[in-house]
Protein backbone atom coordinates (compact mmCIF):
# COMPACT_ATOMS: atom_id res chain seq x y z
CA UNK A 1 0.00 0.00 0.00
CA UNK A 2 2.88 2.27 0.88
CA UNK A 3 4.28 1.69 -2.59
CA UNK A 4 1.02 2.66 -4.24
CA UNK A 5 0.79 5.81 -2.15
CA UNK A 6 4.27 6.75 -3.28
CA UNK A 7 3.62 6.34 -7.00
CA UNK A 8 2.26 9.87 -7.44
CA UNK A 9 5.29 11.24 -5.64
CA UNK A 10 7.59 9.21 -7.88
CA UNK A 11 5.88 10.41 -11.04
CA UNK A 12 5.99 14.05 -9.97
CA UNK A 13 9.51 13.86 -8.69
CA UNK A 14 10.94 12.26 -11.84
CA UNK A 15 9.16 14.83 -14.01
CA UNK A 16 10.42 17.75 -11.94
CA UNK A 17 13.99 16.51 -11.76
CA UNK A 18 14.14 15.83 -15.48
CA UNK A 19 12.85 19.34 -16.15
CA UNK A 20 15.64 20.63 -13.96
CA UNK A 21 18.20 18.44 -15.68
CA UNK A 22 17.21 19.30 -19.24
CA UNK A 23 16.08 22.88 -18.62
CA UNK A 24 12.78 22.38 -20.42
CA UNK A 25 9.31 20.98 -19.91
CA UNK A 26 9.23 17.18 -19.81
CA UNK A 27 5.97 15.33 -19.19
CA UNK A 28 5.80 12.04 -17.35
CA UNK A 29 2.45 11.01 -18.73
CA UNK A 30 2.24 7.78 -16.74
CA UNK A 31 4.33 5.72 -14.33
CA UNK A 32 3.33 2.08 -14.07
CA UNK A 33 4.38 -0.81 -11.89
CA UNK A 34 4.58 -3.58 -14.47
CA UNK A 35 4.62 -7.35 -14.61
CA UNK A 36 5.00 -9.27 -17.86
CA UNK A 37 3.90 -12.73 -18.89
CA UNK A 38 7.51 -13.70 -19.64
CA UNK A 39 8.41 -13.21 -15.97
CA UNK A 40 9.99 -9.73 -15.99
CA UNK A 41 8.86 -7.17 -13.43
CA UNK A 42 9.55 -3.49 -13.15
CA UNK A 43 8.53 0.09 -13.62
CA UNK A 44 7.60 1.64 -16.96
CA UNK A 45 7.59 5.41 -17.29
CA UNK A 46 5.90 7.00 -20.32
CA UNK A 47 7.16 10.37 -21.51
CA UNK A 48 6.39 13.24 -23.82
CA UNK A 49 9.03 15.79 -24.70
CA UNK A 50 12.06 13.62 -23.91
CA UNK A 51 14.56 13.03 -26.73
CA UNK A 52 17.11 10.34 -27.52
CA UNK A 53 19.83 12.96 -27.16
CA UNK A 54 18.68 13.75 -23.60
CA UNK A 55 18.94 10.14 -22.49
CA UNK A 56 22.32 9.72 -24.15
CA UNK A 57 23.85 12.91 -22.75
CA UNK A 58 22.37 12.56 -19.27
CA UNK A 59 22.33 8.75 -19.02
CA UNK A 60 24.16 8.47 -15.70
CA UNK A 61 22.19 11.31 -14.06
CA UNK A 62 18.90 9.85 -15.28
CA UNK A 63 19.84 6.45 -13.86
CA UNK A 64 20.70 8.08 -10.53
CA UNK A 65 17.42 9.97 -10.46
CA UNK A 66 15.34 6.91 -11.34
CA UNK A 67 17.09 4.72 -8.78
CA UNK A 68 16.81 7.34 -6.03
CA UNK A 69 13.20 8.12 -6.69
CA UNK A 70 12.08 4.51 -7.00
CA UNK A 71 14.21 3.16 -4.13
CA UNK A 72 11.09 2.60 -2.03
CA UNK A 73 9.88 0.00 -4.53
CA UNK A 74 13.07 -2.01 -3.83
CA UNK A 75 13.23 -3.07 -7.46
CA UNK A 76 17.03 -3.26 -7.88
CA UNK A 77 16.73 -3.33 -11.68
CA UNK A 78 18.91 -5.51 -13.90
CA UNK A 79 18.49 -3.05 -16.73
CA UNK A 80 17.26 0.46 -17.42
CA UNK A 81 16.53 1.32 -21.03
CA UNK A 82 14.73 3.92 -23.09
CA UNK A 83 12.39 2.82 -25.88
CA UNK A 84 12.24 5.19 -28.83
CA UNK A 85 9.18 5.61 -30.99
CA UNK A 86 10.42 3.42 -33.88
CA UNK A 87 12.35 5.38 -36.48
CA UNK A 88 12.21 8.64 -34.52
CA UNK A 89 14.23 10.46 -31.87
CA UNK A 90 11.29 10.50 -29.49
CA UNK A 91 11.61 8.64 -26.17
CA UNK A 92 8.29 6.85 -25.66
CA UNK A 93 9.18 5.25 -22.34
CA UNK A 94 11.94 4.29 -19.95
CA UNK A 95 11.77 0.85 -18.34
CA UNK A 96 13.47 -0.34 -15.15
CA UNK A 97 13.33 -4.13 -15.19
CA UNK A 98 14.23 -7.15 -13.20
CA UNK A 99 14.69 -9.61 -16.04
CA UNK A 100 13.36 -13.11 -16.49
CA UNK A 101 15.81 -15.79 -17.73
CA UNK A 102 14.74 -15.50 -21.34
CA UNK A 103 14.98 -11.70 -21.50
CA UNK A 104 18.28 -11.81 -19.59
CA UNK A 105 19.69 -13.64 -22.62
CA UNK A 106 18.27 -11.01 -25.00
CA UNK A 107 19.55 -8.02 -23.04
CA UNK A 108 22.69 -9.68 -21.72
CA UNK A 109 24.77 -9.70 -24.93
CA UNK A 110 26.91 -6.97 -26.45
CA UNK A 111 24.30 -6.01 -29.00
CA UNK A 112 21.07 -4.17 -28.25
CA UNK A 113 18.23 -6.63 -28.86
CA UNK A 114 16.15 -4.04 -30.75
CA UNK A 115 17.25 -1.02 -32.73
CA UNK A 116 14.86 1.38 -31.01
CA UNK A 117 16.17 0.93 -27.48
CA UNK A 118 18.91 2.84 -25.78
CA UNK A 119 20.40 1.11 -22.73
CA UNK A 120 21.14 3.48 -19.85
CA UNK A 121 22.24 0.93 -17.29
CA UNK A 122 22.95 -2.80 -17.16
CA UNK A 123 23.86 -4.68 -14.02
CA UNK A 124 27.12 -6.59 -14.31
CA UNK A 125 26.20 -10.30 -14.48
Amino acid sequence: MNTLNNLLDHRGSIEKRLMKLTGRVIWVVQLNLSSFSCGCTGITIFFAGLEKEDVEVFASRIVEILNEVTASVRLDPDIIYASLVPGSSEVGSISLKRLCDECRKDYGGDVRPWSNISILYKKAC
Partner: protein
Protein backbone atom coordinates in the same frame (compact mmCIF):
# COMPACT_ATOMS: atom_id res chain seq x y z
CA UNK B 1 -26.55 30.58 -30.65
CA UNK B 2 -27.15 27.03 -31.93
CA UNK B 3 -25.06 24.54 -29.94
CA UNK B 4 -24.35 21.03 -31.21
CA UNK B 5 -23.00 18.56 -28.68
CA UNK B 6 -21.56 15.05 -28.76
CA UNK B 7 -23.17 11.91 -27.41
CA UNK B 8 -20.70 9.23 -26.29
CA UNK B 9 -23.03 6.59 -27.77
CA UNK B 10 -24.52 4.59 -24.90
CA UNK B 11 -28.12 5.26 -23.97
CA UNK B 12 -27.44 6.03 -20.29
CA UNK B 13 -25.18 8.87 -21.35
CA UNK B 14 -27.71 10.16 -23.87
CA UNK B 15 -30.43 10.23 -21.23
CA UNK B 16 -28.23 12.07 -18.75
CA UNK B 17 -27.06 14.67 -21.28
CA UNK B 18 -30.59 15.28 -22.52
CA UNK B 19 -32.01 15.49 -19.01
CA UNK B 20 -29.50 18.12 -17.96
CA UNK B 21 -28.77 20.02 -21.15
CA UNK B 22 -31.54 19.58 -23.73
CA UNK B 23 -32.74 23.14 -23.26
CA UNK B 24 -29.27 24.45 -24.09
CA UNK B 25 -28.89 22.50 -27.30
CA UNK B 26 -29.91 22.66 -30.94
CA UNK B 27 -28.49 19.32 -32.12
CA UNK B 28 -26.63 16.27 -30.82
CA UNK B 29 -24.37 13.95 -32.75
CA UNK B 30 -22.98 10.46 -32.34
CA UNK B 31 -20.83 8.09 -34.37
CA UNK B 32 -22.45 5.75 -36.86
CA UNK B 33 -21.75 2.03 -36.87
CA UNK B 34 -18.14 1.25 -37.66
CA UNK B 35 -19.38 -1.99 -39.25
CA UNK B 36 -20.44 0.16 -42.19
CA UNK B 37 -18.57 3.44 -42.39
CA UNK B 38 -15.57 4.45 -40.30
CA UNK B 39 -15.37 7.81 -38.53
CA UNK B 40 -12.73 10.42 -37.82
CA UNK B 41 -12.48 9.47 -34.15
CA UNK B 42 -11.66 6.10 -32.68
CA UNK B 43 -14.98 4.42 -31.95
CA UNK B 44 -15.29 3.35 -28.30
CA UNK B 45 -18.39 1.26 -28.56
CA UNK B 46 -20.82 -0.11 -31.06
CA UNK B 47 -23.52 2.16 -32.45
CA UNK B 48 -26.00 -0.53 -33.36
CA UNK B 49 -28.92 0.45 -35.53
CA UNK B 50 -31.28 -0.07 -32.58
CA UNK B 51 -29.19 2.29 -30.42
CA UNK B 52 -29.35 4.99 -33.08
CA UNK B 53 -33.08 4.48 -33.48
CA UNK B 54 -33.71 4.70 -29.74
CA UNK B 55 -31.33 7.65 -29.36
CA UNK B 56 -33.09 9.49 -32.17
CA UNK B 57 -36.44 8.88 -30.50
CA UNK B 58 -35.16 10.29 -27.20
CA UNK B 59 -33.54 13.27 -28.92
CA UNK B 60 -36.76 14.06 -30.79
CA UNK B 61 -38.76 13.92 -27.56
CA UNK B 62 -36.69 16.91 -26.49
CA UNK B 63 -37.22 18.62 -29.86
CA UNK B 64 -33.57 18.44 -30.77
CA UNK B 65 -31.97 17.41 -34.02
CA UNK B 66 -30.02 14.17 -34.35
CA UNK B 67 -26.87 13.96 -36.48
CA UNK B 68 -24.93 10.76 -37.19
CA UNK B 69 -21.25 11.25 -37.94
CA UNK B 70 -19.50 9.01 -40.48
CA UNK B 71 -16.65 11.25 -41.46
CA UNK B 72 -13.81 8.93 -42.42
CA UNK B 73 -11.18 10.56 -44.61
CA UNK B 74 -10.35 7.22 -46.22
CA UNK B 75 -12.41 4.15 -46.97
CA UNK B 76 -9.77 2.35 -48.95
CA UNK B 77 -11.87 2.76 -52.09
CA UNK B 78 -14.58 0.42 -50.75
CA UNK B 79 -17.29 3.03 -51.37
CA UNK B 80 -16.37 3.01 -55.06
CA UNK B 81 -17.08 -0.68 -55.46
CA UNK B 82 -20.56 -2.03 -56.23
CA UNK B 83 -20.61 -4.07 -53.05
CA UNK B 84 -19.26 -1.22 -50.91
CA UNK B 85 -21.70 1.33 -52.27
CA UNK B 86 -24.58 -1.06 -51.70
CA UNK B 87 -23.45 -1.48 -48.09
CA UNK B 88 -23.19 2.27 -47.48
CA UNK B 89 -26.54 2.92 -49.16
CA UNK B 90 -28.23 0.30 -46.99
CA UNK B 91 -26.78 1.90 -43.86
CA UNK B 92 -27.96 5.35 -44.95
CA UNK B 93 -31.40 3.78 -45.46
CA UNK B 94 -31.28 2.42 -41.89
CA UNK B 95 -30.46 5.93 -40.66
CA UNK B 96 -33.27 7.42 -42.72
CA UNK B 97 -35.72 4.90 -41.24
CA UNK B 98 -34.44 5.72 -37.75
CA UNK B 99 -35.47 9.32 -38.46
CA UNK B 100 -32.10 11.04 -38.07
CA UNK B 101 -32.13 14.69 -39.10
CA UNK B 102 -28.61 14.90 -40.45
CA UNK B 103 -25.61 12.85 -41.45
CA UNK B 104 -22.09 14.28 -41.32
CA UNK B 105 -19.80 12.97 -44.04
CA UNK B 106 -16.34 13.86 -45.32
CA UNK B 107 -16.07 12.12 -48.68
CA UNK B 108 -17.39 14.17 -51.63
CA UNK B 109 -18.85 11.13 -53.38
CA UNK B 110 -20.81 10.00 -50.32
CA UNK B 111 -21.93 13.59 -49.77
CA UNK B 112 -23.38 13.69 -53.28
CA UNK B 113 -24.94 10.23 -52.99
CA UNK B 114 -26.51 11.01 -49.62
CA UNK B 115 -27.85 14.40 -50.63
CA UNK B 116 -29.38 13.09 -53.88
CA UNK B 117 -31.03 10.04 -52.37
CA UNK B 118 -32.10 10.96 -48.84
CA UNK B 119 -34.14 13.69 -47.25
CA UNK B 120 -32.03 14.13 -44.11
CA UNK B 121 -29.58 17.03 -44.09
CA UNK B 122 -26.06 16.34 -45.24
CA UNK B 123 -23.37 18.14 -43.27
CA UNK B 124 -19.83 18.44 -44.56
CA UNK B 125 -17.33 17.37 -41.92
CA UNK B 126 -14.37 19.49 -40.83
CA UNK B 127 -12.35 16.57 -42.24
CA UNK B 128 -13.34 17.78 -45.73
CA UNK B 129 -11.08 20.76 -44.95
CA UNK B 130 -13.30 23.54 -46.28
CA UNK B 131 -10.98 26.51 -45.97
CA UNK B 132 -12.07 28.79 -48.83
CA UNK B 133 -15.24 30.18 -50.40
CA UNK B 134 -14.53 28.10 -53.53
CA UNK B 135 -14.56 24.84 -51.62
CA UNK B 136 -17.67 25.87 -49.73
CA UNK B 137 -19.47 26.62 -53.03
CA UNK B 138 -18.33 23.24 -54.37
CA UNK B 139 -19.88 21.38 -51.45
CA UNK B 140 -23.05 23.44 -51.46
CA UNK B 141 -23.50 22.67 -55.16
CA UNK B 142 -22.92 19.01 -54.36
CA UNK B 143 -25.96 19.18 -52.09
CA UNK B 144 -24.60 20.03 -48.64
CA UNK B 145 -27.03 21.58 -46.18
CA UNK B 146 -24.31 22.55 -43.75
CA UNK B 147 -20.53 22.89 -43.65
CA UNK B 148 -18.27 22.50 -40.65
CA UNK B 149 -15.31 24.55 -41.72
CA UNK B 150 -11.69 23.41 -41.50
CA UNK B 151 -10.63 24.18 -37.93
CA UNK B 152 -7.43 25.78 -39.22
CA UNK B 153 -9.49 28.82 -40.30
CA UNK B 154 -11.28 29.12 -36.97
CA UNK B 155 -9.50 32.40 -36.28
CA UNK B 156 -9.25 33.59 -39.86
CA UNK B 157 -12.20 35.95 -39.89
CA UNK B 158 -11.42 37.22 -43.36
CA UNK B 159 -11.91 33.73 -44.84
CA UNK B 160 -14.82 32.91 -42.53
CA UNK B 161 -16.65 36.04 -43.65
CA UNK B 162 -15.96 35.23 -47.29
CA UNK B 163 -17.33 31.69 -46.87
CA UNK B 164 -20.39 33.02 -45.06
CA UNK B 165 -20.91 35.41 -47.93
CA UNK B 166 -20.38 32.79 -50.66
CA UNK B 167 -22.92 30.16 -49.58
CA UNK B 168 -26.34 30.11 -48.00
CA UNK B 169 -26.09 26.77 -46.16
CA UNK B 170 -25.48 26.48 -42.44
CA UNK B 171 -21.86 27.26 -41.46
CA UNK B 172 -20.55 25.55 -38.36
CA UNK B 173 -17.46 26.17 -36.27
CA UNK B 174 -15.98 23.36 -34.19
CA UNK B 175 -15.01 25.31 -31.10
CA UNK B 176 -12.95 23.05 -28.88
CA UNK B 177 -11.25 20.35 -30.92
CA UNK B 178 -7.90 21.72 -29.77
CA UNK B 179 -5.83 20.48 -32.71
CA UNK B 180 -2.70 22.29 -33.83
CA UNK B 181 -2.99 25.22 -36.24
CA UNK B 182 -2.31 23.83 -39.75
CA UNK B 183 -1.51 20.48 -38.13
CA UNK B 184 0.99 18.64 -40.33
CA UNK B 185 -0.29 15.26 -39.12
CA UNK B 186 -3.96 15.90 -39.69
CA UNK B 187 -4.56 14.13 -43.02
CA UNK B 188 -2.35 11.20 -42.10
CA UNK B 189 -3.79 10.67 -38.64
CA UNK B 190 -7.37 10.86 -39.89
CA UNK B 191 -6.50 8.29 -42.55
CA UNK B 192 -5.09 5.94 -39.90
CA UNK B 193 -8.10 6.41 -37.61
CA UNK B 194 -10.42 5.88 -40.58
CA UNK B 195 -9.00 2.39 -40.92
CA UNK B 196 -8.62 1.55 -37.23
CA UNK B 197 -12.20 2.69 -36.49
CA UNK B 198 -13.80 1.02 -39.49
CA UNK B 199 -14.89 -2.33 -40.81
CA UNK B 200 -12.29 -5.10 -41.36
CA UNK B 201 -9.54 -5.39 -42.32
CA UNK B 202 -8.44 -3.29 -39.33
CA UNK B 203 -4.67 -2.74 -39.17
CA UNK B 204 -3.12 -3.61 -35.82
CA UNK B 205 -0.94 -0.54 -35.43
CA UNK B 206 1.71 -0.77 -32.70
CA UNK B 207 1.95 2.97 -32.08
CA UNK B 208 0.40 6.15 -33.41
CA UNK B 209 3.34 8.29 -34.49
CA UNK B 210 1.16 11.30 -35.32
CA UNK B 211 -0.54 11.54 -31.95
CA UNK B 212 2.69 10.98 -30.03
CA UNK B 213 4.57 13.54 -32.08
CA UNK B 214 1.74 16.03 -31.67
CA UNK B 215 1.83 15.57 -27.90
CA UNK B 216 5.58 15.98 -27.60
CA UNK B 217 5.56 19.02 -29.90
CA UNK B 218 3.14 20.69 -27.51
CA UNK B 219 5.35 19.82 -24.56
CA UNK B 220 8.43 21.21 -26.30
CA UNK B 221 6.72 24.26 -27.77
CA UNK B 222 3.88 25.12 -25.38
CA UNK B 223 2.95 28.19 -27.45
CA UNK B 224 1.54 25.79 -30.07
CA UNK B 225 -1.29 25.25 -27.59
CA UNK B 226 -1.99 28.97 -27.69
CA UNK B 227 -2.14 29.00 -31.48
CA UNK B 228 -4.30 25.87 -31.68
CA UNK B 229 -7.75 26.17 -33.22
CA UNK B 230 -9.90 26.61 -30.11
CA UNK B 231 -12.51 29.29 -29.59
CA UNK B 232 -13.17 30.61 -26.09
CA UNK B 233 -16.77 30.62 -24.88
CA UNK B 234 -16.46 34.39 -24.33
CA UNK B 235 -15.48 34.91 -27.99
CA UNK B 236 -18.48 33.25 -29.66
CA UNK B 237 -20.03 36.66 -30.19
CA UNK B 238 -17.26 37.59 -32.62
CA UNK B 239 -18.51 34.78 -34.88
CA UNK B 240 -22.14 35.77 -34.45
CA UNK B 241 -21.17 39.27 -35.60
CA UNK B 242 -20.15 37.83 -38.98
CA UNK B 243 -23.25 35.68 -39.30
CA UNK B 244 -21.99 32.35 -37.94
CA UNK B 245 -24.06 31.13 -35.02
CA UNK B 246 -23.84 27.30 -35.14
CA UNK B 247 -21.17 26.03 -32.81
CA UNK B 248 -20.18 22.41 -32.51
CA UNK B 249 -18.61 21.02 -29.34
CA UNK B 250 -16.11 18.24 -29.99
CA UNK B 251 -15.74 15.34 -27.53
CA UNK B 252 -17.62 12.14 -28.33
CA UNK B 253 -14.87 10.11 -26.63
CA UNK B 254 -14.89 12.23 -23.47
CA UNK B 255 -16.67 11.32 -20.22
CA UNK B 256 -20.33 12.26 -19.83
CA UNK B 257 -19.82 14.75 -17.00
CA UNK B 258 -17.26 16.64 -19.04
CA UNK B 259 -19.67 16.84 -21.98
CA UNK B 260 -22.35 18.29 -19.70
CA UNK B 261 -19.98 20.82 -18.11
CA UNK B 262 -18.62 21.89 -21.50
CA UNK B 263 -22.13 22.48 -22.87
CA UNK B 264 -22.92 24.61 -19.82
CA UNK B 265 -19.70 26.55 -20.23
CA UNK B 266 -20.22 27.41 -23.90
CA UNK B 267 -23.85 28.24 -23.24
CA UNK B 268 -22.89 30.62 -20.44
CA UNK B 269 -20.06 32.13 -22.54
CA UNK B 270 -18.02 32.37 -19.40
CA UNK B 271 -15.19 30.23 -18.02
CA UNK B 272 -12.76 30.90 -15.22
CA UNK B 273 -10.66 27.73 -15.25
CA UNK B 274 -7.84 26.16 -17.20
CA UNK B 275 -8.65 26.58 -20.90
CA UNK B 276 -7.10 23.18 -21.65
CA UNK B 277 -9.93 21.55 -19.71
CA UNK B 278 -12.35 22.63 -22.45
CA UNK B 279 -10.37 20.98 -25.24
CA UNK B 280 -11.29 17.60 -26.66
CA UNK B 281 -7.96 16.59 -28.10
CA UNK B 282 -5.10 17.10 -25.60
CA UNK B 283 -7.32 17.61 -22.53
CA UNK B 284 -5.02 15.38 -20.49
CA UNK B 285 -2.40 18.13 -20.84
CA UNK B 286 -4.34 20.10 -18.24
CA UNK B 287 -2.30 18.06 -15.76
CA UNK B 288 0.89 19.60 -17.12
CA UNK B 289 -0.06 23.13 -18.24
CA UNK B 290 -2.41 25.77 -16.92
CA UNK B 291 -3.81 28.45 -19.23
CA UNK B 292 -5.96 30.87 -17.22
CA UNK B 293 -8.84 31.46 -19.61
CA UNK B 294 -9.74 34.84 -18.19
CA UNK B 295 -6.26 36.15 -18.99
CA UNK B 296 -7.04 35.59 -22.68
CA UNK B 297 -9.65 38.37 -22.72
CA UNK B 298 -9.04 40.52 -25.77
CA UNK B 299 -6.56 38.18 -27.49
CA UNK B 300 -9.16 37.47 -30.15
CA UNK B 301 -8.83 41.06 -31.41
CA UNK B 302 -5.25 40.27 -32.34
CA UNK B 303 -6.10 36.86 -33.81
CA UNK B 304 -8.90 38.37 -35.91
CA UNK B 305 -6.48 40.63 -37.70
CA UNK B 306 -3.23 38.64 -37.69
CA UNK B 307 -1.75 37.41 -40.96
CA UNK B 308 -0.56 34.03 -39.59
CA UNK B 309 3.08 34.89 -40.23
CA UNK B 310 4.02 33.67 -36.77
CA UNK B 311 7.75 33.70 -37.48
CA UNK B 312 7.53 37.50 -37.86
CA UNK B 313 5.03 38.11 -35.07
CA UNK B 314 5.61 36.33 -31.77
CA UNK B 315 2.38 37.49 -30.12
CA UNK B 316 1.24 33.97 -29.18
CA UNK B 317 4.67 32.97 -27.93
CA UNK B 318 4.90 36.10 -25.76
CA UNK B 319 1.39 35.59 -24.46
CA UNK B 320 2.28 31.99 -23.56
CA UNK B 321 5.36 33.15 -21.66
CA UNK B 322 3.26 35.71 -19.79
CA UNK B 323 0.32 33.60 -18.71
CA UNK B 324 0.91 29.88 -19.14
CA UNK B 325 2.01 27.92 -16.07
CA UNK B 326 3.48 24.47 -15.60
CA UNK B 327 2.51 22.07 -12.85
CA UNK B 328 5.31 20.63 -10.77
CA UNK B 329 4.65 17.47 -8.72
CA UNK B 330 1.00 17.46 -9.71
CA UNK B 331 -1.24 15.45 -7.43
CA UNK B 332 1.15 15.45 -4.47
CA UNK B 333 1.37 17.57 -1.31
CA UNK B 334 4.12 19.55 -2.99
CA UNK B 335 2.12 20.48 -6.12
CA UNK B 336 2.88 23.96 -7.40
CA UNK B 337 2.41 26.05 -10.52
CA UNK B 338 5.36 27.90 -11.99
CA UNK B 339 5.47 30.16 -15.00
CA UNK B 340 7.39 29.12 -18.11
CA UNK B 341 9.75 32.02 -17.44
CA UNK B 342 10.47 30.77 -13.91
CA UNK B 343 11.02 27.30 -15.31
CA UNK B 344 13.52 28.60 -17.84
CA UNK B 345 15.41 30.23 -14.99
CA UNK B 346 15.63 26.89 -13.19
CA UNK B 347 13.20 24.57 -11.45
CA UNK B 348 12.69 25.91 -7.94
CA UNK B 349 13.18 23.00 -5.57
CA UNK B 350 15.30 21.31 -3.03
CA UNK B 351 17.06 18.96 -5.46
CA UNK B 352 20.63 19.90 -6.24
CA UNK B 353 21.63 18.94 -9.77
Amino acid sequence: MKLCAPLPGHLDATKKILKEEASNLHEVFMAGSSDYIPTGRQALGESFSETIEETTRLVHEDNLRMDVVMNASCMGGRHLTDEGLHRYMSYLEILARAGVDAVTLADPYLIEVASRNFSFDVIVSCISFVDSPEKAIFYEELGADGITVDTSINRDFHVLEAIRDAVSCDIRVLVNEGCLYKCPFRYFDFNVVSHTSGPPPVPKISFNYYQRKCRSLRVKKPWLLMKANWVRPEDLKAYEEIGIDTFKISGRNQPVNWVIETIKTYKSRDFSGNLIDLLDYSRSMKHLFYIPNKKLDGAIDRWKSCDRNCHRCGFCKDLTAQIMKVYLERGTDREMLVSLTELNEGVPDEYPE
